[in-house]
Symmetry: C2
Subunit: 351 residues, 2 copies
């Protein structure tokens, strides 16, 4: 898990001159291949690369020409949990002697073309994409430059061969909703995140599974679509709570939407948890600070970011030489329910 000793990454004993001799080319030609220069005939390049690989040289080349940087790309920096992720990547980068380059794909679900060119030019040790994806040409560009990448908490389905780190979102939605069912709630609403995000779908599916296994009906008009922001939690919360048959509890999808729901409840004169129970998701620092402190599903964001950073560095080290990459390239870290004061038994009228 710790960065390996530099010596350990250079197992080869052959010098460039020896490889040049073996390949029947000049040493400068071997150098060109090592440095990825274009002016080498394809046949020669292949022959030299095979020899370099056999002698464990490719890895050395990749490490030698990489900048001491890790790229961290957010879909957007709006969310308070970005900071938890940054901290995790910083922790691992610092230990590895690397600096973190931060970008935002700014509302687009794949970072812009320019971004990929910049990354290819600076050749970081790896790229971590948070709730963001790469298109085909971007993937090809990074792969051709031996820049490994990992997706954290995939927004869409990242594809079977994309290394990713997530959390057990489905399990979290299940635990949140079971907690409400066990308290006696029967009309339980849910606010999802954006439907194109897999983490959001998984949470709501967990909610459904909890209701179904408890023998409770899943009422589609108690499930509302959000976008993980406070304002939407407020707006959708107003709609849910204004109904004559309003739910006695809501699984808010994430903490920010839960805070929006708090505001909606306050405006309508509903007390939490006496009139309404609320469960969030994430366990941001603010969840402890609001009144009443929020019951929520803890997502280990900093640990997930650390795992993503370690994985991308590992991918970089196993870039060649060995045929296979690290063992697990798709990992889900466990979520856990944190019960605070925003959940309680349902009001008598609702039971």
């Amino acid at each position: 898990m710790t960065p390996s000793d530099p010596a350990e990454t250079r197992p080869q004993t052959a010098t460039l001159a020896e490889i040049a001799r073996e390949a029947g080319v000049s040493a400068p030609t071997v150098s060109k291949v090592l440095n990825g220069r274009a002016d080498v005939a394809p046949g020669t390049r292949t022959r030299v690369e095979n020899l370099l690989r056999a002698h464990g040289y490719r890895r050395r080349r990749a490490e030698a020409t990489r900048s001491p940087l890790i790229d961290l790309v957010f879909h957007e920096l709006e969310s308070a949990w970005a900071l938890e992720v940054i901290r995790g990547v910083e922790n691992v980068a610092r230990d590895a002697g690397l600096s973190v380059v931060l970008s935002e794909s700014a509302g687009r679900l794949t970072p812009g073309r320019t971004w990929a060119d910049q990354v290819a030019a600076r050749r970081p040790h790896g790229v971590i994409l948070v709730l963001s994806g790469l298109d085909e040409s971007q993937r090809a560009l990074l792969t051709s430059r031996s820049v490994p990448f990992v997706v954290m908490d995939p927004a869409g389905d990242p594809g079977a061969d994309v290394p990713s780190i997530g959390a057990t979102n489905w399990q979290g939605g299940l635990a949140a909703t079971r907690h409400l069912v066990e308290l006696g709630h029967r009309r339980i609403g849910a606010i999802s995140g954006p439907p194109q995000m897999m983490c959001s779908r998984a949470r709501v599916d967990g909610y459904r599974a909890a209701l179904e296994t408890a023998g409770l009906p899943v009422e589609s008009d108690l499930i509302r679509t959000g976008d993980f922001h406070h304002d939407t939690g407020y707006r959708v919360g107003r709609e849910l709570l204004a109904r004559p048959d309003r739910p006695t509890a809501v699984f808010a999808g994430n903490d920010l939407q839960a805070l929006g729901l708090y505001e909606a409840a306050r405006e309508l004169g509903l007390r939490i948890p006496e009139d309404l129970s609320v469960v969030g998701f994430d366990d941001l620092p603010v969840a402890r600070w609001v009144g009443p402190p929020l019951t929520t599903v803890r997502q280990p964001l900093t640990e997930m970011a650390e795992a993503a950073a370690r994985l991308v560095l590992e991918l970089g080290r196993s870039d060649n030489g060995s045929a296979e990459g690290p063992a697990a390239t798709r990992v889900e870290l466990a979520t856990s329910l944190v019960v605070r004061s925003s959940t309680g038994v349902p009001p008598l009228a609702g039971s």
Copy 2:
């Protein structure tokens, strides 16, 4: 304010060969001087540098060898307002085609030695230090590599020649406390930030000035030392509120300490604002979301970060050629009071 046209930054017409001729040296020697190589005799270097400067070349050199990066260094990434700052720097960097490298000086008030070496090696377009300073050797290192730097919201006294961007902290402390005085409060507490931070001192001095100009006594045991974190706001808040002659209002120094104070009040059964008025400082997004929404002093963090990023890029452009730098290298942006629901008239018993 917008990045200048590349062509505009290269006003010189002389070629390297012409400068070499004029200086009586070879073109490779001029090249060595341009690239900061050590193997040039001091007299020759001075002669060539003077000619290069006369022809506007130094600037071009600096721009040519800089990485397309801006370094952003935080004292710590704990605080939720780091995100507001990151966003501002990202905005300006994106427009200038630069990427942002993020570091944390992790509890030390000057970033570590290794960090300065890394920055010197990658030669970014500039460095922005947030609540962090540089020691003499770090300054010398960056200066020798023509890497400009700007301090945002200085933690200590940055020295007269250090470019800095701040906010009108004193004015904010004054406005917060005047608001409470005008509501009728007479016993007003204050929680400071860390005493070594100038912004913290300025806020409390503004609080004192408001009391004194209103003819109210400044009671030293109503002023407590904090550290800008939630937990301290809670702990110090408990102390202040447990007194038999507790204050009817508290200027909490920043928003996180205000939220800690909310928790202390909740535990003691004190209602906000009926029993206790609270004013924060910063206006983080969460200030709008808590119950009741927090009256606070808005600090334009994103705008401050944008100003710092623009200033550092400007410093880089005026690095040479022109004798003087940008006009204003010490700027304070205005703070403003945002009145929400956490402040009201004092309880009858306290009037």
